[in-house]
Amino acid sequence: MTICYYCGSGNATLPLKISDSFTANSVVKCPHSSLMCSKCYALMFGDRSRCLFWNEAKIDKQTNAKAPSWSLMFTRNTSWLLSSTTSFPTFSEDPRTVEINGKSVTALVMANLPTRSLIRQWLLEPPEPPFTIAIAKSGQKHILFLAQQGLSRDYFPVQFETDTLHCDRAHFTQLLIVCEALMELGFNKTEIGTGSYYPSRLLKCFDQWEPLEAIVQRERTPANPTRLLQLACYVAQKSFNPDLS
């Protein structure tokens, strides 16, 4: 059996290694395998498990001012957008040596981390198949091994944290436009997701809110928003001007 323990791919050649901090053994694709593939090994234990990242937003704790510097980051913290032509994040070919907190660190450099707007763009206009979309919401779990490849631009799987959503592009586009229109009216993502809107905000724009809420309401149950609505709220951007027609 040459199936990878983690992702289930059929080209596993390396002996299986499981970290003590990996606790998702109940959801791996091939629990009886004793092998892992080189891709999973690189991400979990190899040169791509921790990478250097130029952190523009880092703040100096003493001066409270922006102090961009290098950080050593786990790659499991990032989202992944993979296709045959472009991939995010990108990795340098050769490792680089930098100084972090007085210590010399050598690792690959990771850049072009997928932002929410980039993920939004891929969900609305996916690249030519095959492609993979894995969105890390918490940034604390390995999720890429769970992701499935999309083979169609109109209906494709999206790995959203540990859940696999099957995304109908037309339906999702409509939902996203409505969510962004509601954000333009002044509502936040929590209100849109739960359906509990602040009355003071409702009074200001009730007539515009009502038809939009009628569409979003179908994606909401009394207890929770559906997975698709959660995804739409995650990538919705207020700065885009939605076409309300």
Partner: protein
């Protein structure tokens, strides 16, 4: 073996991660193996291949062929649901489970570390009063197996009130009345111009074996969501 329509009447919502579950052929195979004492919680590929001959001899479903590729002649589930909600549950490790390696320890920590409880954040439940399948099979044999099935899906949700098996005139397991696709088939067998979803899918049982996974065309209109 004759064309059949099988209905499951449900009293509670059932868990479905996609529009092509629950699968009747996988359900009947599980019930058959369970009755014979051959079912295991997490079968390995070797165990699955060993059971294949038993399944071929005893499963009351017809086997069809698409250009030499065999498959069980059962459609995807067809149903209409009003709403979908998400529930959460915890999975705790069973200490008696033989396939887990306790590494010689007497006391196992389940709040952290290798054997932590896993919180299953997502159980998408769908509320549908009835699920239909179309197949070619032996009605008496299928009825005998389904008599032991009281629920559909994970966590014993989807309580089944009763099963109905009708003999029908036309074979609808592969192509529907409007020539729509009724079950997943590999892309190379799909005629041009048929509406479908395209995904990598385990289209034969057992679905986890690599030889049963292919780039498939899946039915589009088998599940209708009333709320949308």
């Amino acid at each position: 073996m004759q064309p059949l329509q099988i209905n499951a009447l449900l009293s509670t919502p059932f868990v479905a991660y996609d529009n092509w579950s629950p699968s009747l052929d996988n359900l009947l195979i599980w019930l058959l193996l369970d009755r014979a004492g051959l079912s295991v919680t997490m079968p390995t590929p070797e165990v699955a291949k060993q059971n294949q001959s038993f399944i071929e001899d005893n499963l009351p479903l017809a086997i069809g062929y698409l250009e030499g590729e065999w498959y069980h002649q059962v459609s995807s589930p067809h149903y209409q649901y009003d709403w979908e909600t998400i529930t959460k549950t915890h999975k705790a490790w069973n200490r008696q489970d033989q396939h887990l390696d306790w590494k010689g320890k007497r006391r196992i920590w389940i709040t952290e570390g290798f054997h932590t409880k896993s919180r299953v954040n997502l159980l998408p439940e769908r509320s549908a009063p009835r699920i239909d399948w179309f197949c070619i099979g032996d009605p008496a044999g299928i009825q005998q197996l389904l008599n032991n099935c009281n629920h559909l899906g994970k966590q014993k949700r989807g309580q089944v009130i009763g099963w109905q098996i009708y003999e029908i005139e036309n074979d609808l397991h592969l192509w529907g009345p409007g020539e729509q696709l009724m079950r997943p088939i590999p892309m190379q067998f799909l005629p041009d111009g048929k509406p479908h979803r395209r995904m990598k899918w385990g289209w034969r049982s057992p679905i986890f074996l690599p030889e049963n996974i292919a780039e498939c065309a899946l039915p589009v209109a088998n599940v209708v969501n009333f709320s949308s």
